[in-house]
């Protein structure tokens, strides 16, 4: 009989090495899967993890793309991690991401074709407010009417997708687009374009914002009383209440911060890599960021690495599809394995495995 026994303290050694173990286990199990699909597992793993960074053929393009892909993931995941630490569950970052993009793009499109230096900052502000406002709906419903914030924030994603469809087919549609859906191309509107800060590096303003968010979250959690309250509310909700932490205030702050950061991610994306508001603008960053937040152990630095790793599996996974003809589903399974092994590793962090003995009936 195998039993799991809760540890009184999480095992620090395991907490540190499980991410590494998870990556190794994913490579082994994923390699076996690739082999079963008829691909050379070593070549496949190299294509996913090595080629995007170092292959002569691809790296000059895919290395910058890694930042482009990881930027929004990190930005959103940092916001979500604050709430997750406090036991406040914002599952609807995808919707806040969409609303931020719409709000920011709307500012640009309203100003078009004026060229002015204030336009991009105004878009950033609008993007943050758009995401924040959308996140306030589940937050206020929770604090006022005690609704379930998981459900409300998730379902609002589908509402946001309908708003996006409506925006791209009517009120933000490109009037010169011959009736086709989609807004003007913001990348061709100099005052609104979120260009690379240094050409050829993939480093656009959204990636810079992600790095700033990592540092800010680190300082907040380690040095600021609010960060302490967030951690306390998550670990010992009763103690937090006795200490005078208002749960409602925390809900509003956590949802507000994560919504604003998701909205920012959406704005930087629509003005940069995605170029325009379109029906299928959102590609799941808001959901993937949840995985990134947990993969990074809800720690700002961890999230930074988790976002980069996740980005790498996307870019490398695409390369594996292109070069080796692997199906997209195999790459998604591979990413799923990574999360599975990480969560499985958590079991060993929090529990001790006992062999033998009897289970009490």
């Amino acid at each position: 009989m195998i039993r799991l026994e809760r540890r009184s303290e999480p095992n620090r050694l395991f907490a540190g090495i499980t991410p590494v173990l998870a990556v190794v286990a994913t490579m082994i199990a994923g390699g076996a899967m690739f082999a079963a699909l008829g691909a050379d597992p070593f070549v496949t793993i190299r294509t996913i993890f090595w080629d995007p960074l170092f292959s002569e053929q691809f790296a000059s393009y895919s290395r910058p793309q890694l930042l482009v892909k990881a930027g929004p993931l990190i930005l959103i995941a940092i916001g979500l991690s604050l709430g997750f630490r406090a036991g406040v569950w914002n599952i609807g970052a995808e919707g806040q991401y969409i609303m931020g993009a719409i709000a920011g793009a709307a500012v640009a499109l309203a100003a078009y074709p004026l060229e002015a230096v204030w336009i991009f900052p105004a878009m950033i502000l609008a993007g943050a407010i758009g995401g924040w406002a959308w996140a306030m709906i589940p937050a206020i419903l929770r604090t006022r009417f005690n609704t379930n914030e998981i459900l409300v924030s998730l379902l609002l994603v589908y509402v946001a997708e309908q708003v996006l469809a409506s925006a791209s087919t009517s009120w933000l549609r490109n009037p010169e687009g011959a009736g086709f859906p989609g807004s003007r191309n913001l990348a061709q509107y100099p005052s609104a374009a979120n260009n690379e800060i240094i050409a050829g590096t993939g480093m656009h303003w959204g990636v810079a914002a992600a790095f700033i968010a990592v540092i800010a979250a680190y300082v907040l959690l380690s040095r600021h009383i609010l960060g302490f309250n967030i951690r306390l509310a998550g670990q010992a909700p009763r103690a937090a209440r006795f200490a005078g932490v208002s749960p409602n205030r925390l809900v509003l702050i956590c949802f507000g911060a994560s919504g604003a950061l998701a909205g920012l991610a959406g704005l930087y994306e629509v003005a940069g890599p995605a170029r325009q508001i379109s029906i299928d603008f959102n590609v799941g960053y808001g959901f993937t960021a949840i995985i990134v937040a947990f993969l990074g152990r809800l720690h700002p630095v961890g999230i930074l690495f988790a976002g980069l790793l996740m980005g790498l599996t996307y870019i490398g996974g695409e390369l594996a599809q292109i070069m080796l003809g692997l199906p997209a589903a195999a790459i998604q399974s591979f990413q799923g394995m990574l999360l599975f092994f990480l969560l499985a590793g958590d079991v060993f962090t929090n529990f001790r495995v006992r062999f033998g003995g009897r289970v009490a009936a």
């Binding site: 390699g31 076996a32 997708e161 292109i322 199906p327």
Partner: protein, 359 residues
Amino acid sequence: MKLKSMIAGAMIAAVAGFSAYADGHEPTKVAFVYVGPKDDGGWSQQHHAMATEMAEHFGDAVEFSYLDAVPEAESERVFTQLALAGNDIIFGTSFGYMDPMLAAAARFPDVKFEHATGYKTSDNMSNYGARFYEGRAIMGHIAGRMTETNKIGYIASFPVPEVLRGMSSAYVHAKKANPDVEMTVVWLNTWFDPPKEADATQAMIDQGIDVVLAHTDSIAPLQTIQASGQRVFGFGQAADMIQFAPAPRLSSIIDNWAPYYIARVQAVKDGTWESAATWHGIEEEMVGIGAFSEALPEDVRAEAQALMESIVSGEYHPFTGPLNKQDGSAWLADGEVANVGDLLGMGFVVEGLDVEIPN
């Protein structure tokens, strides 16, 4: 042990796979990018089937690869990586790939790009599309003749010209066949979402609609009709969907891309590829009309056949005046035929069609 032998087997397979072309000639590298899963039963599956047909046509002379379920917002990176991987010609089969492909095409002037259903071209990027409204005319006629409740339904994806053209054409010809017919349009805001398509179909059946035309990508509408067990009909869309014949599938609009794909790849091989905008219909066989079902009465089948022949011969255009726009303003005078520009950018529907275009 087991793992080891599996790996060994895979290595042998991989080596065998790469050892072709002993005579040293370079195969043309052709890549396809689909927006939906390659087995969606409709749009993307049909492109994949046609691309596969192209690959089989050329055999060893072509190296064919594809990526499916690629979101439009991610497609620029995919096109770029495909170009870096050495592909000679890259096809993208979703409207939303247009601007991303244009951007990628600008960076790789030596690679040929082909975009389906858009309207932009560049020196090394063509667009191609099919006059599906010709097929819609025939399906509309059949729908008008087959309905007993005088209620037909149209499952619409997005209010883009392609869909507005399709529903207008279907409505005009249903109305000609049966002046009492009413058409209900439901917007799904998606190209591919089987549960949503099924729900919409069921809701239509519940309202007494007995012929459903779908402008989405999956087989869910026909599945739902079949499961209802009622006298309700539908049509194959993108693929023949012959598995639902003789009923509920009465006929189908088949996207027959293979001849175009073969011609374009051949042009790359010959060095004669040029950027072009192509819009072919039934005559050029880009739009195929699936066999008329035995469930159709003899006279309806004959009428549908005659309508098809008149479109093919050019004697009849599905958009021939007098036709007004939905708001009552004049569009085509008596006997006037719609021009290509109006049709490609169609942002309205015809008069009498009771539909709110999302605005």
